[in-house]
């Protein structure tokens, strides 16, 4: 299966990357994706996205535009062809 991860905002700047595409044998969940990203980006994403194994406050993870907090959180399954969008939402005004 293939999946696309898109980085925006600070993630894009810090990592000097617009995203990453993975070709995998099996379906994975969000936590496994974060592990994969950590391998490729030196542990960056677990620090940014996780707090005690859950999604940290101020972070959102979208799979095909849906916030995984409304699905199974870090256990949300990612399927073939899915797009994961990662960006820290801007909160100010």
């Amino acid at each position: 299966m293939s999946l696309k991860v898109k980085f925006h905002s600070l993630f894009r700047i810090k990592l000097k990357s617009r995203g990453h595409e993975y070709q995998l044998e099996d379906e994975i969940d969000v936590m496994e994706l974060i592990d994969l990203l950590d391998d490729d980006y030196d542990g960056y994403f677990s620090k940014k996205l996780l707090d005690a194994g859950e999604i940290s406050p101020g972070s959102i993870i979208l799979v095909n535009g849906e916030n995984v907090i409304h699905k199974d959180g870090v256990k949300t399954k990612i399927k073939d062809g899915d797009t994961v969008t990662l960006f820290p939402p801007s909160a100010g005004g």
């Binding site: 898109k6 925006h8 905002s9 600070l10 894009r12 700047i13 999604i55 406050p57 101020g58 972070s59 959102i60 979208l62 095909n64 535009g65 849906e66 916030n67 907090i69 409304h70 969008t85 960006f87 820290p88 939402p89 801007s90 909160a91 100010g92 005004g93």
Partner: protein, 223 residues
């Protein structure tokens, strides 16, 4: 047509001009985004602006909140913003609502759209629920550092604000910089107008992401 709107006349069909001149809007928050929006809304000649906020002007507001100066510190934001706007003697009616936004509050029945000009997601989720309750369009904007996002939420939209941004609440105070705030408010207003004036190229189940560091604007589809 009002004489002072002559230079924008060519941009719009006559029915669009009529719609714009009749628009009544609610601006939820009279801070950075709110003051920028109010100034722009007045200049384009909408009918009525309901300005909401219950804070007083503080020194830390002055880097980006364009209706206030040092002499206004301690005054109610909405009243000061209305006084600032009214000095220009343009035709838009400014209604200062010095009150906290809650799910139970009553909104005027002539509002056409709610602008999110807030500085935290907790209150944004409250306004989104209000918009849903009243069947009103709601246009979200958030700005931080050199980044921003805008999302138009309609009564018929597939995703509400909380569907996308649940968990975005955080405790730290966001860094805000006036040029980024002004650009965000301008985009927010333009995107709202596309919908309100009946054009078909408005944001549909899409986040407009603005990256001023890389000079990039992207649409993130919420499919």
């Amino acid at each position: 047509m009002r004489e002072y709107l002559k230079r924008q006349k060519k941009l719009f069909k006559s029915e669009e001009r009529e719609k714009m001149a009749a628009l009544n809007v609610m601006v939820a928050g009279t801070g950075g985004l709110g003051t920028n929006l109010a100034i722009q809304l007045q200049r384009i000649g909408v009918n009525k602006i309901y300005l909401y906020d219950y804070d007083k002007v503080e020194i830390s507001n002055l880097n980006r909140q364009l209706c206030f100066g040092r002499d206004d510190i301690g005054k109610a934001k909405v009243e000061q913003a209305a006084e600032f706007l009214n000095q220009f003697k343009l035709d838009t009616e400014i209604i200062a609502k010095n009150e906290k936004i809650t799910e139970e509050m009553e909104l005027a029945d002539d509002i056409h759209i709610i602008f999110d000009a807030l500085d935290n997601f907790e209150t944004r989720f409250v306004v989104d629920k209000l918009a849903q309750k009243y069947g009103l369009p709601f246009i979200h904007a958030g700005v931080e550092d050199l980044f921003a996002q805008i999302m138009l939420i309609l009564p018929e939209s597939k995703s509400r604000l909380n569907d996308v941004f649940a968990g975005a609440e955080k405790d730290d105070t966001p860094a805000v910089f006036s040029p980024a705030v002004t650009i965000t408010a301008s985009f927010q207003l333009l995107e709202a107008l596309k919908y309100l004036l009946g054009r078909d190229n408005y944001l549909k189940d899409t986040i407009l992401h603005i990256d001023l560091f890389n000079s990039e604007i992207e649409k993130i589809e919420l499919r």
